[in-house]
Assembly symmetry: C2
Homo-oligomer: 418 residues x 2
């Protein structure tokens, strides 16, 4: 059997298992999540030893340090994963909720939340995602097919085995948690993108390159997540101290994440005051490379010029592009040209500017006088997150449990005809 046939078989089994699982009670799903948490804790030695093998090969293959860090599991991290599982138990299950209305002809129509069916996730070498993603899908009654980065192969296989055993012990079909092993290579990933009719939604989690490849190739419906070319605009009416504080936070608190800013736009009327203030404040704590437009370079001597490419780039690093703009509308136009629909912020004391920015900037999250770093399921109070959607269909912004469900109209009558 070739890679494609194997993947389709895994997806078909998940699809079949998803039917019965879709009607399992919240109580039973929560018990399963608790059982998985306990099993991961008691098997933590086994997990850590599988993870050590992965780390050793990754080091041999020259995987960079920051990726090794994402790959690494230890007691504390496993315990963190189990805490998340137990927190997930406490969240409300959206499945079965909905609205009921009666039509004049007596038809009772219930618009009910139901699981999507089979959720597939393609992600990189982050073993915590293996458990997190499976758990979010479990909680919402979905079957899951996971395809993780090859560097985490041993760890993932160990985690999947533990979870499948728990599923089986709960009297459910373990095929509802499918895993596309690294032996199936890129063909395995490609097959998953072609499993239309077997997979209900495919969520890529990881780099921009991974996400673009999935969007390009997939015939399965995709939810795009994560690409974040985010901006902060310092308006002419801004409280400049607030602007400095928010800009430093939005850029430097964690530059590698998608909700960090990449470009700062500054109104010409405050640029000469603000830019030196910002540059000296940020230099006290961080080594930030600033690349500026012509006007910025004239104010902050010695920095490199920003090119068109800079404005298009999600640096994910301690680099910030800066552009001086002559109006609010120029800032909005720049953002709508270059942004990826993630998070955008304005610092202003002008009610009109705030309203115009909120209305016209096209993004999942638009901030007035706060840092873009808050775009996150936890920070929004959703408790858990499968990703941050940068698309407009289905889900936009941090996706909680609700985004893993769809609706079904259930209509009861007593023989009505039209």
């Amino acid at each position: 059997m070739d890679a494609k046939a194997k993947v389709f078989q895994i997806c078909k089994k998940a699809k079949d298992a998803s039917r019965d699982f879709s009607v399992v009670s919240t109580e039973k799903k929560n018990a399963l999540l608790r059982a998985i948490a306990s099993a991961l804790e008691s098997d933590s030695d086994k997990i850590i030893s599988a993870n050590r093998k992965d780390l050793a090969s990754a080091r041999e293959n020259g995987v960079p340090d920051h990726m090794l860090d994402r790959l690494m599991l230890n007691e504390a991290r496993i315990s963190g994963i189990c805490d998340s599982l137990r927190a997930l138990v406490l969240l409300t299950d959206p499945v079965g909720s909905g609205e009921l209305f009666t039509r004049p002809n007596g038809l009772k129509i219930a618009c009910t939340r139901v699981p999507l069916g089979v959720v597939a996730i393609i992600y990189e070498a982050r073993p915590n995602v293996t458990v997190d993603a499976a758990a979010l899908c479990l909680k919402t009654g979905n079957a899951t097919v996971l395809r993780g980065g090859k560097e985490a192969a041993n760890t993932n296989l160990c985690l999947i085995e533990i979870m499948r055993t728990c599923i089986e012990n709960a009297g459910l079909c373990p095929d509802m948690l499918g895993f596309i092993g690294p032996e199936l290579g890129y063909e395995g990933a490609d097959a998953l993108m072609q499993a239309r009719g077997l997979v209900d939604v495919l969520i890529p989690r990881g780099s921009k390159r991974l996400i673009s490849a999935v969007v390009e190739k997939s015939s399965v419906p995709v939810i795009e997540t994560g690409a974040g070319n985010c901006h902060l605009y310092v308006d002419g009416s801004a409280d400049l101290d607030m602007a400095v504080k928010v800009a430093i936070n939005a850029k430097c608190s964690r530059p590698a994440v998608c909700n960090a800013i990449e470009t700062m736009l500054v109104h010409a009327s405050v640029a000469e005051d603000f830019l030196p203030k910002f540059a000296s404040a940020v230099a006290q704590k961080h080594s930030l490379e600033i690349r500026g437009c012509e006007k910025t370079c004239a104010i902050l001597k010695g920095i490199s010029p920003a090119t068109e490419e800079d404005f298009e780039t999600e640096y994910d690093d301690y680099i910030l592009a800066v552009k001086v703009v002559s109006s609010l509308d120029e800032a909005i136009a720049h953002i709508n040209k270059y942004n990826t629909g993630h998070s955008e912020a304005i610092i202003t004391n002008d009610r009109y500017a705030a309203d115009r920015f909120k209305s016209l900037v096209d993004a999942a999250a638009v901030y007035v006088n706060a840092s873009t770093r808050f775009t996150d399921g936890g920070e929004f109070g959703f408790g858990a997150e499968i990703g941050i959607s940068t698309q407009k269909l289905h889900a936009r912004g941090p996706m909680g449990l609700y985004a893993l469900t769809t609706q079904k109209y259930i209509i009861e009558g007593n023989g009505q005809v039209r």
Copy 2:
């Protein structure tokens, strides 16, 4: 300029116009809808004469009668279109509605409905869709790009011109209603499917072939609509008189529409009673061709046998496939194998069977003791409908105004950082 460049230019202009239009008040949008209704009425002679040209060429080109009927506009039909426009005025505009919550750190988060941006629709030679679709998009603050069937070219151009003039008279940019003319051919349609970033969603309306082609080729997010391989299952506990009445309605009241049934499943325990009863009742009013499984053929002598292909086919005609099943679960499995996720019905007096059918059948609308023909925005009380979604993401079932919007998180703070 080639077809692709022309289409991209139309889409780009629509995208630019969509920004300002997204914040236009409901009052102003309603006034525009009323103005369009009046203009269509006063220009009805012009519209009808353009339509006559289309009808004449269509007849010359051998377009079949049922398509000529869909293409035809007369005073009564124009007046019907204008009535729909005025009914649309009365519906609640979802834009601007939403939820507001405050986080412990003081951030105020509003999750607000906003327009999708640019909605493109590819459809066949039905000029009423030109006005309906544009109006639904207008009401929800979206720009629209339409690509209608070439047979309706003159009618569409006339309708578009009237609507664009009304938009301009309202002080808005007419480019928010774009039209891909028939001179751009299939290349024009293909270009629209590739306008990722310029078009926010593409909705194909029409035949299964059109919809499949769009789903296959499009890199723009698509909402699939309309394909309806629907079933009626007559359970062993069914009230057989009700079953006869509902089956005849679901098949014969309008066979060409997507919510009509194509296959009827009958429990073995009632097949011998029910099938002759149904066959003789339906024969009194309709000339229905029944194609049956082996057991059905043994009960209803002289009918043709149903093949695998029959169970896969959306006949859209006075043809019905019939299969006798030995259990509820066999019926559910058959439906989940062959259906297109549209509308499915069970006739039963057994609470357990009803619940199991409702839970396990995977479709947008699942009926107990009622006809599938009710799956419709008007029948559900939504007042207007852009199509019936058979997909699970974003919208499922009849899509009203809400489905033409997305959400935007608007977060207000006073300098919060993370």
